[in-house]
């Protein structure tokens, strides 16, 4: 009897009930675990490359071109004799870091724009939402291709460094990915604006910024987290497509996408070059999607399973 009461009291906190719902969603938990493992592999790539596999990601070995997967080359070797497994680990660093950074940037941009639109309303809302909707109706991939193919040297006058090229890639992907978050945040802010506690705090003399930061945004955290998580998968897919087309991350820096580009010519002779990097993309994106879905269900106030 007493333990029953303590159990009821335990589920009172929002965080606890969210965590409890999340725990019951087995796929989401499994995805979180998978992502944790992938993150560890990516972070530990230099260590693994030095101690476990014994290859660096860029040592070419011309006597071992297209080696089949073996004890020496766990996933085989590519067209320059480089170890595919090590390259996948390093590629994971790039793809995961890129994905999360770009997702964070688009989330921030989306929150700022959506928050401003929802909070101020009126003509700002109109203008921002029209802009958002116009961008959403554009053909995204063709525009990304054209923007990525621009020669930065012509724009800047000097050849760009590596960092600038990656920054450009991030900017392009973020530019086409903030809209969904903006719409969501605007809807959430509009909902919160109508609540009485907002009226109350204004009656007590709270200024605009205080109301926004202290009262409205904390209640919008749930959809923001869910959308941001789901967007990572999307961004990783976009980055792989661009790298695959030769317009994203350029070799010799390994990225799962550009490894697949090289593999295209050897589908018959060395299919493992194409199979493994793609598997990792699929695994990562699926994990982020399940994670986001699980988070969405966990945050849903209607309780698990509808």
């Amino acid at each position: 009897m007493v333990s029953g009461i303590s159990k009821i009291a335990e589920s009172a906190t929002t965080t606890r009930s969210v965590w409890r719902d999340f725990r019951s969603h087995r796929l989401a938990l499994a995805s979180a675990a998978v992502l944790g493992v992938l993150a560890l592999l990516a972070i530990g790539a230099p260590l693994i490359s030095a101690h476990v596999t014994g290859h660096a990601y860029d040592t070419t070995d011309l006597t071992n071109l297209y080696a089949k997967p073996s004890m020496r080359y766990w996933f085989g070797a590519d067209e320059l004799g480089r170890d595919v497994f090590t390259r996948i680990l390093y590629g994971g660093r790039i793809s995961l870091a890129f994905g999360m950074l770009a997702a964070l940037a688009s989330a921030v941009l989306g929150v700022v724009i959506g928050g401003m639109a929802g909070f101020h309303g009126g003509w700002i809302d109109n203008l921002l939402m029209r802009f958002t909707d116009s961008l959403l109706s554009l053909p995204i991939l063709p525009l990304m291709i054209i923007l990525s193919a621009v020669d930065l040297e012509k724009v800047l006058g000097v050849p760009p460094g590596d960092y600038l090229s990656i920054l450009r890639l991030i900017a392009i992907i973020v530019f086409f990915n903030w809209m969904i978050m903006a719409r969501l945040v605007r809807a959430a802010v509009l909902r919160q604006k109508q609540c009485e506690f907002v009226e109350a705090s204004r009656a007590m003399g709270a200024g605009d910024l205080r109301v926004l930061l202290l009262h409205i945004l904390p209640n919008c955290v749930a959809p923001i987290i869910v959308t941001a998580t789901l967007s990572v998968g999307n961004i990783i897919l976009y980055e792989s497509v661009l790298s695959f087309l030769g317009l994203g991350i350029v070799p010799p820096t390994p990225s799962w996408g550009n490894m697949l580009n090289n593999a295209q010519e050897y589908l018959r002779s060395a299919p493992w070059l194409a199979i493994y990097p793609g598997c990792f993309i699929l695994l990562t994106v699926m994990a982020f999607n399940f994670l986001g879905d699980g988070l969405r269900d966990a945050f849903d106030p209607h309780g698990p399973k509808g």
Binding site: P142, D151, V155, V241, L260, G278
Partner: protein, 320 residues
């Protein structure tokens, strides 16, 4: 209703104009303008010749002058000449658009035939093993990189099994419809996977929500047969949001077709755009991009109106 359509249409034209300016400017920033490429193939060209060529092609004028010239040229019907294919742009484009629509149309049909029944049965057998498997499959379909799936399909079905050709649109010398379908199968199936994943989930969730509604409970309480309830009431209401999703998928199919065409060497519009951007074939790149953009915007606009047209409740409101 008519005024709304006109307003949207004007908005669309405005966006297209802005896009044309932006993209024209971007294409001007591509590595290597036409004269640069000539220089690399003829190392003993004199700087005088270069200046003359630039003046001949009009490349020495500022970009807004070039843009306005291009607009005037296009509006008078001359779509330009392709440097890579040595043919007028209009000729190439017409063929390519047809091929892309063949690919997209087939993928659309496949998705319809596969996703809708899967979604319906999934919703009817909620939380069963079947539902679970379908959901997993749908997630995989959404998460899989389309170009990788294409490569896998080529490896398995074209190289190892040899059932289908690894690409292209026809076998040399043959031009039958059967040959076309044989070449069309792999690309269309690969293109449809992501759409199938998305539609299955939407159909399932939509029908799922509808089955929980009060009017369904009323129908059951009235004693109607389950097949009538589902067939007449549930499905109709579940299909309404699907119409918007179906219409919105068409612009996505355009982007997906770009990737699929590149992998399977399918001569379509998306691949034309990619090849011409990479190959600095500016007229073709400009025209094919504008075509793609116009089609995408058009179908997005249609998607917005589709729901209003199909749902009789909204139709009645707009009349009143």
């Amino acid at each position: 209703m008519g005024a709304k359509i006109l307003k949207r249409f004007t908005h669309m034209v405005g966006v297209l104009v802005i896009l044309s300016v932006v993209v024209y400017y971007m294409l001007g920033l591509m590595p290597g303008d036409p004269v640069d490429l000539l220089i690399t193939s003829r190392p003993n060209i004199t700087s005088e010749d270069i200046a003359n060529l630039r003046r001949l092609y009009g490349l020495d004028q500022p970009i807004y002058v070039r843009y306005l010239k291009w607009v005037r040229q296009v509006l008078s019907g001359d779509l330009g000449f392709s440097r890579t294919y040595k043919r007028p742009t209009g000729e190439i484009l017409f063929n390519r658009i047809g091929n892309t629509f063949r690919l997209m149309g087939t993928a659309f049909l496949i998705s319809l035939v596969v996703a809708i029944p899967l979604g319906i049965f999934s919703a009817l057998r909620q939380y069963s093993v079947f539902d679970y498997m379908v959901n997993l499959g749908a997630f995989a379909g959404i998460s899989i990189p389309a170009f990788w799936l294409g490569l896998l399909a080529i490896i398995l079905f074209a190289e190892i099994l040899g059932w289908f050709p690894p690409g292209g649109i026809r076998t040399y010398g043959r031009s039958s419809a059967g040959d076309l379908l044989w070449h069309l199968t792999l690309p269309a199936v690969v293109l449809s996977i992501q759409t199938v994943g998305r539609w299955t989930r939407y159909m399932r969730n939509s029908l799922f929500d509808v089955l929980r509604a009060d009017y369904i409970r009323t129908a059951r309480a009235k004693g109607l047969r389950e097949s009538v309830i589902i067939g007449r009431h549930a499905l109709k209401n579940a299909s309404l949001p699907m119409i918007t999703i179906l219409a919105l998928s068409i612009p996505e199919l355009f982007s997906g077709a770009l990737i699929t065409e590149t992998i399977f060497a399918w001569p379509g519009m998306g691949r034309l755009l990619y090849d011409s951007v990479i190959g600095s074939d500016y007229y073709v790149a400009m025209i094919s991009f504008m075509c793609l953009a116009a089609l995408t915007l058009l179908f997005n606009m249609l998607a917005d109106f589709a729901y209003g047209l199909v749902d009789p409740r909204l139709r009645r409101e707009s009349i009143a």
